[in-house]
Every structure is written in structure tokens, then in C-alpha cells.
Symmetry: C2
Subunit: 170 residues, 2 copies
Amino acid sequence: MKFAPLLSALCLFSLCAAPTVAEEQKPAPAPNGLEIPEGFENWAVISISHRLDRESMRVILGNDIAVKAARSGQTSPWPDGAIIAKVAWTETSEEDWPAAVVPGKLLNAEFMFKDSKKFAANGTGWGWARWKGPDRTPYGKDASFEKECIECHAAVRHRDWAFTQAATFR
Amino acid sequence: MKFAPLLSALCLFSLCAAPTVAEEQKPAPAPNGLEIPEGFENWAVISISHRLDRESMRVILGNDIAVKAARSGQTSPWPDGAIIAKVAWTETSEEDWPAAVVPGKLLNAEFMFKDSKKFAANGTGWGWARWKGPDRTPYGKDASFEKECIECHAAVRHRDWAFTQAATFR
């Protein structure tokens, strides 16, 4: 029993150190300093997509400014303050309805932050960031990772760099 | 100029009669009396799906009770008060990225309302309802339309009648 105090102390330490939802650490910022928006999982839907070329499924969410702009067609350009989130998963089949393709493993959460002044230097007026997988690891070794995002989105430069067009709810 | 007062009166009448977002009529209730939940377009996402057998895309949203239950895996059974919304669109291709399948025309908005007492009589504990297209026309001639919903969902009777499993955000 002489180890009891030590064991108690260890147990107490473990309890204190155990992460809880409330204490959960915020993911590290992206290499360009952008931070993952808190609570984006609860943002409203702008649209969805199924990338047949990547075998992945996506939901595109927006903060209030982005959703309002998208649903009213005010996206040429998108207003400053808009944030668009694209969450991607591997594709899989619904276990009881195999013809339905549904999200599998979480791949990443990508964000576009519109601020025409703050992000004028990269030529787009948007800040770009991506976090990988359930651990939400920031993507990119240094701030030059933005070039990858911008090169791909150059296909929609004429639509203020955003692929997503709002799905209609009525 | 003698028509001016009449014209003014007509203009005023037109302005009053013109529908605005605030005045927009609520859709008619479903034949079983259920009403379309106001503001469901802004509910958080539970999951998405692409029905290859129906060439349609869907987003599955939930009210707060449903989202909390789905994301914490408390869906055996789903709690009373949960409402699940499934919005379906035809599939189309993203105009600047053809390999991406995206929502086209709005098909319908379908709902499941969980109340184990109120909806015990139909054998599921859920109330069922569907509104069609942008005009949000209630589906079904009389309350027996619920049978169609239930027959299809019988495949997931063992999962409290709901196909959707929560997509993971972390």
C-alpha cells in the first residue's frame, strides 16, 4: 500500500491532463497565420459536391455574411468578411442502400477568407487555409502553400475565385 | 391629371400586395398536419449523399436536438424533439470543373419529426412529411402518404428508421 499516494497522485494528474470537449485545444494556425474558425461545423450550407475525379464528397458551408451573399447572388465580388468552408470526406456506400454514396473518412477542412484589402498582396483578395484530417493539422510548410490553392482556383478567377454557387432551397 | 389619385391608390395597393421575404406565405401543411419547420435552411449539417440510382444529391440537416444526437452517436433511438431534414436536388456538373457533380434543380425537402408518443400509431415514432420543388407543395393526397416513406425506410428500421449517420468533422 505504500505506493497508494503515488498512484493517487498519478491518477489525479491523468484526470487533469485528460482532454475534454471544453478544454480541447484549438488547432495550430495555418502557415500564413490564419486560424480555423470556431464552430464552423454549425454554419449553414451553401452547397455540396461529389468530386468524381477525387472520389471524395464535400459540403460547402459559410459564415452569415457568406451565406447571405451566396443565397442572394451577391458574389461578384463576395463581400469582405465572408468565410467559405469546404469540408471533404472520402466517398463510401451507405451500408443499407449501396447506391447512395455517403461521406467516409474526414479528409480536410479548407477555408477562404474574403478581405479585399488584407489579402490584396496574393492577387485574389482571399486568405486561404487548409487543415488535414481529424487532428486538424495545418497544411503547408510555409506561407507559399497559398500558391497551390490559387493555381487550382484560377479556373474560377472570373467568379471571384470561388467554385461554389449556392444550392437553392426554394 | 384626374387619374392621378386613382393611379396613386393602385400603386399603393400594388406595393402592399407585393410579396416580400418577410411576408412570404408559409407552405401549406402536409396531409398529416405537419408543418414545414421555419428556417430549416440554416440548420447544421448531419451528412450529405449522392443517390446514383436517382441521379440526385442530398444534404441532411438537423435541428439542434438532432445534430447533437447525431454527432454524439445518441441515435438508438433518436431523442424526442429531433427533426431531420433531407433536401434533394437533381445532379449536374460544375460549369468550370466538369468532374464535380453539384446540385441542380431543387426536387424536394423531406422531414422526419421524432416524437415517440405522438407518432406511435404509425409504428415508427416519427412523423413524416415532404414538400415538392421551389413552390413547396405538400406531397400526398391524404395522410396515407406516410406509408410510402415508411416502406422505403423499413430498410433501416434497426437504426430507428433513419438512413443518415453523422459525417465526422474531427
